[in-house]
Symmetry: D2
Subunit: 284 residues, 4 copies
């Protein structure tokens, strides 16, 4: 596969944006592979994702920004550009339950997730074996309320040392501090084991059982300072019945968690997600 570039743009909606962007890519001999766009009429916003082949494209990295500057300025764009050869690095956080972790590692192994996995951090030692099997450095960083600042400091060092682009909370049961979260806007993905906004907080399967719902769900979302309130990336549900006890919900829910989390991570890695306000645009 030849390398490609992906441009993500948010801007106020104006006539001529698409023409300008398309003409720009064409002018420098880019061959568009995928393009998608969205208008939010209520907010007056425009979003687009354009991916083009770099084979024969006339601009290198520096030249791109010089050439693109006038368009960006004219339309007040917030552009982001990604090159497929810049392999992203992700860090995984996990607690005791390892089904999401193992699932991500296995998907990575068979090529579903285009990235390097820089490290696994856990507040428990349990995942050490699976980390070793998949060849990922494992760091056991216990967290107690009084030691959270030190633990987060250690986590931050590790993220900095490994130059990690994305943090994935694969059933990590510790709440990250607002200071920590604030350093990585749109760069931390969590999975919550309910159909948000229903059943925020702890023990959502127990809450779902108590309420007597007929479907249970899982939600992947970007982490913000407000717990379980960040922009939703993906959700899925499965049917349950009165026969299902809490343990059945937990078991059925694991499949949902694995799917919504892995989809979110893949889409993020493919630069398919734009956030605005507390929402996401996910280009398919």
């Amino acid at each position: 596969m030849p390398s490609s570039a992906t441009l993500l743009v948010s801007s106020p909606d104006q006539r001529g944006i698409v023409a300008s962007l398309a003409e720009f890519i064409y002018k420098y001999n880019g061959n568009v592979l995928h393009a998608d766009q969205h208008r939010d009429d209520g907010e007056g916003l425009f979003f687009t994702r354009i991916e083009w082949s770099l084979e024969g494209f006339a601009l290198d990295r520096e030249e791109f920004w010089n050439a693109f500057q006038p368009i960006s300025t004219r339309f007040c764009m917030s552009p982001k550009l990604y090159y497929s050869i810049d392999r992203q690095r992700i860090g995984l956080f996990v607690s005791r339950q390892q089904h999401c972790l193992t699932d991500l590692l296995q998907r990575h192994q068979i090529g579903e997730l285009p990235c390097d996995i820089a490290f696994i951090i856990s507040n428990h030692p349990d995942a050490s074996d699976v980390a070793q099997f998949f060849g990922v450095p494992f760091h056991h960083l216990p967290v107690r309320s009084e030691s959270k600042p030190e633990a987060e400091a250690a986590q931050l060092r590790l993220i900095a040392e490994t130059n990690s682009d994305l943090l994935v909370l694969a059933r990590y049961m510790q709440v990250l501090s607002p200071e920590f979260v604030g350093k990585f806007p749109g760069r931390i993905i969590n999975v919550h084991h309910s159909f948000l906004p229903a059943f925020t907080g702890a023990r959502p399967y127990h809450a779902a059982y108590d309420r007597g719902v007929k479907l249970i769900g899982a939600t992947s979302h970007y982490v913000t300072e407000a717990l379980d309130q960040g922009p939703i990336i993906e959700q899925d549900v499965t049917r349950i019945s009165h026969r299902d006890q809490v343990d059945d919900l937990i078991q059925k829910g694991r499949d949902l968690e694995k799917m919504v989390l892995s989809r979110a991570v893949r889409w993020h890695l493919q630069h398919r997600i734009l956030t605005y306000g507390n929402k996401t645009v996910v280009f398919d």
Copy 2:
């Protein structure tokens, strides 16, 4: 189809219940058509639904209760018995939007709902035509906050006159008073246009849009005094994306509302639903 009887039983869970019930039906020459049961181990409760053919069954209505008394007493049962020849009567409540109403009437017409439709009550005149087409008496009873007591009094008279067994709120946008609701425990079914417990109250599609969820849902439930808090009978969801505006959610949601409401009404009419606490057992 020969007529049948359906027995619904709730009781504390004890050894020997199923044997006693099965032996009882067998002894009086009942041919079991369907039987299902459920145990809630946490609560120590037992639930069963038995439907048997009355062809050749040895007990008439009065004799049944005399014969069944010892079992019922021994196991502290709350039994309910329904005969298929006792056609149930239902009353429909509707406001401006008629998609659920028309859907129920059409399903009734082709035989999906084994009941008579006694009346349609609306706080708007709009549904008068469709009521006439399907041959159901229509009553326009406007409701304003100051006139709600009179409106409910008129509704109660109509329910009493028609001997109605079940009330179905087919997108009826008025909140019924606790006094009214209290008269019909387990006999009022509502459809709420969200995946409860998310987005209770007014304008759930707007709330879902604002939160940026990726699935929308609908819920049918028995009405209790606590708004949108009653035992859930059925839920379903459909996928949406960032492209869907509130109007799209409303349109896609209509299909969900029709399905979850009609299933709930059919299951109720087939005596498949047992409520306990704030939950339902729905035998399939």
Copy 3:
């Protein structure tokens, strides 16, 4: 809502198409409302749908084609242009079962289907009442194998007289002749009550029951001369179990049929569907 125009384009994939189209709309002061595109890399084909507001757009109908000619020629396009003010006319075909028919009529009534319903044709008289209620001319045209040519001739006259754009087979149980079908390529939509390509032909619910599948489906598709082989527009499924008899499959299937057929009709009316080979592109 101001009127809009929608352009559907199929062409060989070439660099510069999107730039040319976007620049064209922009040059004549069109405000793009929605735009979507698709490349089939295997076939080397490009597809796009562009909808723009006509408010302030500089070209009237005749001028459009003159102005667009150079682009169309340069890229070997097959363009189609639709104006929202040109209200489409559709004709409905139905047999005995009326659930799809009533569903479409009810959706039309509440504004889900932007079209006029020109007529209902049936080989049975049953739907006459519902046609009258919804104010649509009803034509009872019985079909026996020996009289099919005359019946089709009468149908063709009616279609011609009413200038109908689209024919919808809402559970019409007669097979149309290849001659008839050949006159309306991409203009006849059928619903088949199975998950195609499984269970083509007659009595698919019986076949599904016999095979013991765990899901049943329905499929809407464009009609071609090969029975049940045309381009698929939409499919959906629902879960069944060993408890479900053929009658249950038929009942559960009705909801699927209504949904997949109505979605197909709406998407067709919104010019969201492009066909190529035996496939569809459905822009969302």
Copy 4:
């Protein structure tokens, strides 16, 4: 969890069966944990699954059959009895693709599958590492058409030596000989990567792509001598669009395959499945 027994019964449908069974369990002081039943009216057959606690149950294994004999004879039953303490042993077959294998091993590790995994057989060496990680003996048995008899002989020896109860084909791409299959009726589970009966045979995702379906599926089923024709245990589907290429179908399908196969294996291990004719009853 105390140990339990599960009785599976198929028989001609007759009055008195349930009463006899329930009375039998009750008489010997069994505490019923779950019970479910099904009647196939068309075939005149009765099926039931009863699970009861052995705590306090009066009959040991030998006594059970003596005591049960009269009931079994009277109703012409084919009964099967399973004790939860008799841990089942399963053998896994895999080829190159390991997603189903890893999924089963991971589910086994966290307790979703109540069994021992006796061995992994593969016609390729690739899965050796993952087998070692999960501590399961791995046997590389290459299969070429001329060597299939020897390969199957080696497989049979391994199955016999390990006393394996169930064979699971976790994307095993070799067709087993009728002789081999004939030795294990109802004891081999396969996953086919399509929504059967659509797309039997090789390369179903390619066939689905070519047909232009809007949903893809996967099916788990018992293996019989007729390829892809055995009794279906579970099916699931997911939505695709014109944007999805064959590779996308393969990727999305993997999640379906993992889920339908693991559910089938779990239900088999829990003795929830009865087969009759070419169908399954799956008690939930």
